[in-house]
Symmetry: D2
Subunit: 435 residues, 4 copies
C-alpha cells in the first residue's frame, strides 16, 4: 500500500553547493535529501516532479498548510501596494490591524488581558524576553524548567533546554536554571508536582527561589510528553505560592495544534507570560510574541529590542489567519475530530506492536523505543512520499504533525503509509533478531 | 527651508490599541508618533497623507530602500507560484540560488572561502551562533568585546553588548565576556590595540585566554565610532597570535553601508567569522547569516538550529538584491560618491558649531555633545518630514543612515533640513544660555 | 533533676566590646551568652565560675575533648623547643611525622591509597580544592550535591550547600552545581538513587554531565540525615558509571564521630576524593586535608595554595591524636558502645513524645518538629549546664555531639538533662495548647 | 662572600613519604629541598644542622620573626592553663582581650571605627567575606579587581586574582569580576585611574556597576608593584562616587610590612572594608579578619561562618604582638630605618645591572627581567644559607621579605649574599651570551 504521489524522476542533480557553502549544522536536509521548490496546502514538491504529504508542517509552523490561498493573497496584495515591510517598532496599519484582531478574536473571547511584546521574530527570542522580564519583575535569577523541555538555542533559552547535545553547543556553562522532572518523568506513580512542592517549600533544598517556572504543556521536541491539566494546575499554583511567574512556552503546542488557540485553554489557570511563534504568522513567516499580564509590563522603552521585531508581512498574514480560522469554532471542531482520528489510528498501531502513544490533539506520536527504529520507519515513509520526523531524547518517538487543515481522507492515507512502513520495519527487526 | 513633503492632515486618530495591547518596551514609535502604511524607495508614508524622507533605513536594514521594485517583483512572483515559504533547513531552489549567487558574486570576487550558516533570522541569533562556534572550536570561554559595542539582546549576545541599560534588562549577571577599549576610546593619543596586546601577553592580567575577539568596524549603536584599518589589523593579528578567532559583526556596517559589501574589505585581514543580517535580505525581511572558514565548521548536525532558519522569501529577495546591486562596481561607486557628499556636508555643519563628525561611507553622524540637543534636532527634523535618529552612549550622535540608493539631490535636501534644524536648535540653546 | 555543675556567680559583666567591635554575624554567642575561659575534656568553664558539659564539641571539632592532656603536652613541648609554627608548604619534621603516622595508622590498615593535599586549614578550603580537582581532572563543570548538604561558605563550596539563608549571603548566583534529593528526601518509599540514575542516563534531563558527586554520609548541618550504605554504594556506582568522581565530605562525620576514622568504612566503596577538617588536629586547631587517589593528583605545583597550609602545630597535635586514639581498636569499641547508649536513650525520648531520631554512631539527634521547640529545649539545657545545639533546615533537630571520649556515666547525666528539659518543654507546649 | 651560617651535613635522608603521600601541588619544598625542624627569630634550621637566614618570612606571615619569645611564652602559658583552644564564635576571655587591645592600640589611635568579623582563619576566607558583604550591601554583583592582583584560591577570591595559572585551576569560568589596570600598568605616562574613571562614567563601556573595588596597596604576589597614594586616593574617590565599597586587601602589606600597621595609613582615605591575615596572629597561626564600617554590618547571625573562626591560640598571640610592637612608635621607627637601608642597597644592586626596584617599606624587590635569572639567584642564595623567593607574573622579581625585627647588621649580611649571587649570575649570563 502506498499513497499515490508522483515520485521524483531523473538522476539526483549536483548538490555540491551545499557541501561547499552550507555549514555542517544542517540537519533535516540529510534525512530528506531532495530539493524542494513549491508547496501548497498539505503538499510539498521537489524539483524533480516528486510530491510529498507533509506530516511535519515545519515543526508545527505550518498549521494552516503551505501557502494558504487567503493568506497568500493578503500578502501579495500588501506587497503589491507597497505596504511597509520593515518598520522597526513604528506604528503601522498592519500592526494596528493585527493588534485589534488579536484583541478581538483571541484575547477578549477567552477573557485574557495580555500585553504583546514583539520580540525578534524567532521563538528563542520570545523565550529570552519572557525570562528576562520574569527576572526583572521578581528580582530573582533562577528559572525552573523541566526535563526534556526545549526552548531555543540562544544562551538564555538554551539554559532552559534539557537536551545535552544542544546544551553542549553553548561552549560555556548554562546557569541560572534548575531542571525539574516533568509530569510523568518518574513513571505514573510519582507525582512530580509534589516533588517540586517539597523542594520549593524546603529552605535547605538548594533550589534557589525561582523568578519563573517555564513549561510546555506538550513537549514538542522532548518526545510529545503531554502534561495533565491537574499537574499543570498544581505547577501554576506552586508558582503563585512561591512568588514566581508562570510561563507557558506555547510556541509549538499553540495556534491550534493541541486543539485550541492556546494549549492551556480550559485548564483552570492563566499563565503570567506566554510565548508564541511558529504558526503565529500562519504562513511560515518569522514572527514571535511574548504576552504578559499588564502589571508585569515593567520594561523601559527599548530595554529589549531587535531589528526585525516589526515584520509587517507577518502581521498581514497573521491577521488574515486569525480572521479566517479563529472567528468561530469551526476550525477547533475540525481539529478535535481529526485529533480523535489520529489518536485512534496511533493507538491501533501502538497496540499492534506493544508501543505507547504520546501527545494531545493533533500533536501526537508513537514511542517505538529506539531512535534507530524510528529513523528506519520515517526514512521508508519519505521514500513513500510522506514527510514525517522523530522527537524525544533518543529520537524514539515518531511524531505526526500534519497540517491542521488536512482533509480527513488524506490524514488517513498518510497514516496508512506510516502503519505499513512501521509494520515492515518491525518485521525486519524480528527477522534480524531471529538470525 | 523645508523639504517639500506633504504633511499629514486631520486629527490624530485613536491609538489606544497600542497603550492597551503593546508593551511599554516600544521605543521608536514614541519619537515618531505617526502611523505608517506604505513606503517605497527613500519615502515612508503615514496614513494621514504625510510623507517622510527616511534617513534611518530601518537602522541600516533598508540599504536598497523600501520595496525596491526588482526585489518586490521577485518576491511577488515567488509567492504567486507557491514557492516554499518556510523550509526549516531543507534544500530548496530558493536556497540553492542564494548560495550560488552569494558564492559567485560575493565570495569568489573577494577571494573569500566561507561556509554559511543560516541561523535564526535575527542579528542576535547570528552573533550567538558565532560565539558558540568560537567557544566550541577553541575550547575557551572568554570572548573579548569592546566598549560601546552592540551585538544583540539574547543572553549570549547581550553579554557582548556594552550598553548598561540593555545589560540591565538581563536580570542575571552577564558573564564570559571581557569588554576592552575600542579604537580611540581613550582619545587619539592612546593606542588601545597596544593596551590589549599588553593585557593578552601578561599571564597575570586577569584577562582569560579568549575564544574570540568580536568587533564592529563601525559601531552603529555605540556612536558611529569607526575603527581605523590599522587598529583592526592589529586586533586581527592579536587574535591570531593568541589563538582566538576574529569575528567581525558586520550586521549594521555591511551590505554596502560603509562602501563595500563587507565593511572590512581591502583592510588587509580576513575575519575567521562574520555575522550578517539587517540589509542582507534587501527588503527588510528577517534573515541572518554566520559565515566562517571551512576548517571551523565543526558543528554537529542540528547542534544549533531555529525554526525560521530557512526563510525562503528572504532567500529570494536577497538573491535579487545581490544580482541587481553587486554584479558590478556601479553601486559601490555610487556609495563612494554619496559618502563623500555626506562627509563634506556633515563636516561643514560640525565646523559651524564646533562639533565632530563620526563614521565612514554612508554611515556617518555628528556628535552634538548631548542627547537632549540631538533629540531636539531629530524631533524638529521629523516635523519637517525627515526621519532621522540618534546613536551613542548618551544618544549624543545624530546619525544619517539614508538608503544607499538615494538620489544625490534628495540626500542634499535631507541634509539641508538637518542643517537648518541643527542651526535653530543651537540658536535656541544660546538664547536659553543667555537668559 | 539537674547535673551538679557549678552555676556562674556574680552579675553579668560589661560585654559592650562585642556590640561595639564584633560583627553582627556572630551566632553561637547569642544563644550561649556567657564568656568562656578554660576547658578540659568534656567541660567548658565560663569566667564567673560556671561549668558546662559540652554536647556540641565545636560542631564535632573536639571529638577527643578539650585540651586532651597528651595532645596538649605534645604541643607545649613542640612550642617550647622552638618547633616551626608556620612553614608554608616546606618539608618539616612535624609534617613528615604526620604523613608517616597517617600512612601507617590510617591508610595502610584500611587498604587506602590516597595522596594528601594540605589546603588552607578550613573545611571550606578543603572542599574548594576537592571540586577544583574534580573539574580539572574530568574537564567537566557541573557538581552534583544534595538537598540539605552543607559544605562551606566560600563561593565554590557555598554553591554546593543547600541552605537558602547561607546561599543568599553570596550576593551572586551560585552556579555549576545541581542539587539532587538525598537519601530519604522524598520519604522511605522513594529511592532517590534511582531518580538520580534516571536523570543521569537521560540525555535530555537538563542535568549536565557531572565532574563529581559530593556527599556527606551523615548531614551534620542538614539535620543529621544518615544515608544508608546501600544508597551510598549506588551513588558511588553511578558516579563511576558516568565518569564523575565520588567525593565524600567527611569533615563533620569523620574522625570517629560515626564510629570509625572515616564515616564510609566497611560500606563497600572507596571515594575518589575525601575531605577532612574539624577534629583532624585533635585539639581544635585549624587543619584540613583533601585526600585523593594518586592517579588524580594532576595538580601543577602551586596551582592551589594558601598561606596557612602548613600549620605545624596542627601536625603535632594531629600526630599525637592518631597515635593515642587510632593505634588499636579500643577507641572504636568505646564509640560503638557509647553510640548504642546514645541511640537507646534518644529512642526512648523520641518514643515518649512521638518524635523520630536521626543519625549514626555518636552523631545523633531528635527531630522535635519545630525550631522553636528545639531552641526552647536547648536554652533550658544551657541554663542547666549543658551545651547542646540544633541542626536542620528549620533548626528542628536537637543534636548530640558529645566528645567521643566522654565517660559513659557523664553521657547519661547529660542525656538526663536533655530528657527532663524536653519533657518540661512538651508539657509547656501542651499547657499553652490547652489554654 | 658568604654569611657564616652552618651548612647541613650528612646525606639527604629518605624523603619518599612526600612523593608517596603529599600532593604534587606542593611548591616551596621543591626549590628549598631541605627538611626544617626549628626556627627562632630570623633563623630557620634544617634537621641536618643547616641554618638559614629567612628573607621570606612565610610570605610576610612572620613579620615579628619565628617563635618570638614573648608571643611564644604567652601561648605556652595559655595552653598550660587549659585556655580554650577552639570556641566557634563564643565569647572567650582571649577574644575579649584581643578585641579590647585591637580597639585601644590599633583603631582608636588611628581614628578608625571598624567592626571585626572573624572569618575562617585564612586570607582567602577574609576576602570572600569582604566581597560577599559588599555585594549584599550594594545589591550589585560586579567587583573591580586589578591586573596582577592576588586575593586567594577559593572561587570567589580566585575570580579576583589575576594570575592565569591560578585561575586555570578553577575548572569553571570565574565570573562577576572585572580586572582593571593597576597603577603604572601601562607605564608611567598613563594614569590608569583616569582610564577607570572614564569607563565607570561611560554607560556603554560594558563595565557593570561595581559592588566594590578591591585593591592591594602593594601587590605581594603580583611583583611588588606599589600604588602611589595619589592613585589610591583617586580609586577610593571613584568607588565612593560610583556607589561601590572600597576594599583594601591588606593581608600581605599590612601588620607593619610597609611601615605602619595598615598599609594605607596617612594616605588620605579610609577603606570601607579591610582584610587582614598573615602576620595578624604574630606567630604564624591561622587567623584572619575582615573589618568594615559599622553601617555596613548588615550580616544576619551566622550568614557567613566557619568552624575555625574562633582560633583562640591566635587571639592570644595576636594580643601579645599588638601589646609588644604597637604600643608606641618604636617599631614603626625601626621599620622605617630598615626600609631605607633595604631601599638603598637594592637601588645600588639595580643600578649596577640596569634593573629596577619595586615596593615600599620592608616589602621590596628587584625586577631582574626574567624568572630564570631570578630563580638562579635565589637558588644560589639558598645554597648560601639565605631563604629568598620571587614574585611577579613571570617570577621575575626577587623579593626581600625579611622579618621586620631583623637586626640591621643581619639585614646587611643577607643583602650581601643577594648582591654577590646576583653579580655572579649576571656574569654567568654574560659568559653564556659571549659563547
Amino acid at each position: 500500500m502506498t499513497i499515490t504521489t508522483p515520485k521524483p524522476s531523473g538522476r539526483i542533480p549536483d548538490r555540491s553547493i551545499y557541501e561547499r557553502r552550507e555549514s555542517e549544522v544542517r540537519s533535516y536536509a540529510r534525512a530528506m535529501p531532495r530539493q524542494f521548490d513549491k508547496a501548497e496546502g498539505v503538499w510539498m514538491h521537489d524539483n524533480q516532479g516528486g510530491r510529498y504529504l507533509d506530516f511535519l508542517s515545519g515543526c508545527s509552523t505550518l498549521n494552516y498548510g503551505h501557502n494558504h490561498p487567503i493568506l497568500k493573497q493578503a500578502l501579495i496584495d500588501y506587497i503589491s501596494a507597497d505596504g511597509i515591510a520593515h518598520g522597526l517598532d513604528l506604528h503601522t496599519d498592519a500592526k494596528e490591524k493585527f493588534l485589534n484582531t488579536y484583541e478581538e478574536l483571541i484575547l477578549k473571547p477567552r477573557g485574557l488581558d495580555y500585553r504583546a511584546m514583539f520580540t525578534g521574530p524567532t521563538g528563542t527570542n520570545a523565550v529570552e524576553a519572557a525570562i528576562k522580564l520574569a527576572r526583572k519583575v521578581t528580582g530573582r535569577e533562577n528559572v525552573i524548567a523541566f526535563t526534556n523541555g526545549f526552548h531555543g538555542m540562544t544562551l538564555g533559552a538554551l539554559a532552559c533546554t534539557g537536551n545535552a547535545a544542544k546544551r553542549g553547543g553553548a561552549g560555556v556553562p548554562l546557569s541560572h536554571v534548575s531542571h525539574e522532572p516533568y509530569d510523568g518523568y518518574y513513571g505514573p506513580d510519582v507525582d512530580t508536582a509534589e516533588l517540586l512542592e517539597q523542594r520549593l517549600a524546603d529552605p535547605s533544598s538548594g533550589l534557589d527561589a525561582p523568578a519563573a517556572i517555564l513549561v510546555e504543556t506538550v513537549q514538542g521536541e522532548g518526545g510529545l510528553n503531554a502534561a495533565s491539566p491537574e499537574w499543570l494546575r498544581k505547577i501554576a499554583a506552586l508558582a503563585k505560592e512561591h512568588g514566581a511567574l508562570f510561563i507557558v512556552d506555547d510556541i509549538q503546542a499553540g495556534c491550534g495544534r493541541t486543539g485550541n488557540f492556546f494549549s492551556f485553554e480550559d485548564m483552570g489557570f492563566t499563565p503570567d507570560i506566554v510565548t508564541q511563534a511558529k504558526s503565529l504568522s500562519g504562513m511560515g513567516l518569522p514572527f514571535a510574541l511574548t504576552l504578559f499580564r499588564p502589571e508585569l509590563d515593567q520594561w523601559s522603552p527599548g530595554e529589549h529590542n531587535g531589528t526585525f521585531r516589526g515584520n509587517n508581512h507577518a502581521f498581514v498574514t497573521a491577521t488574515a489567519a486569525l480572521r479566517h480560522f479563529w472567528s468561530d469554532t469551526a476550525f477547533e471542531d475540525d481539529i478535535a475530530r481529526r485529533g480523535t482520528l489520529l489518536e485512534q489510528r496511533l493507538e491501533t498501531m501502538a497496540r499492534e506492536h506493544g508501543f505507547e502513544t504520546r501527545g494531545r490533539g493533533m500533536m501526537r506520536g508513537i514511542n517505538v523505543g529506539s531512535g534507530e527504529l524510528a529513523d528506519a520507519v520515517t526514512a521508508a515513509c519519505f521514500d513513500d512520499g510522506l514527510i514525517i520526523e522523530t522527537s524525544g531524547a533518543h529520537g524514539e518517538v515518531i511524531k505526526v504533525l500534519a497540517p491542521l487543515v488536512i482533509d480527513d481522507a488524506l490524514l488517513a492515507q498518510g497514516l496508512d503509509i506510516l502503519e505499513a512502513r512501521l509494520r515492515e520495519a518491525m518485521a525486519d527487526d524480528l527477522a534480524v533478531a531471529a538470525e
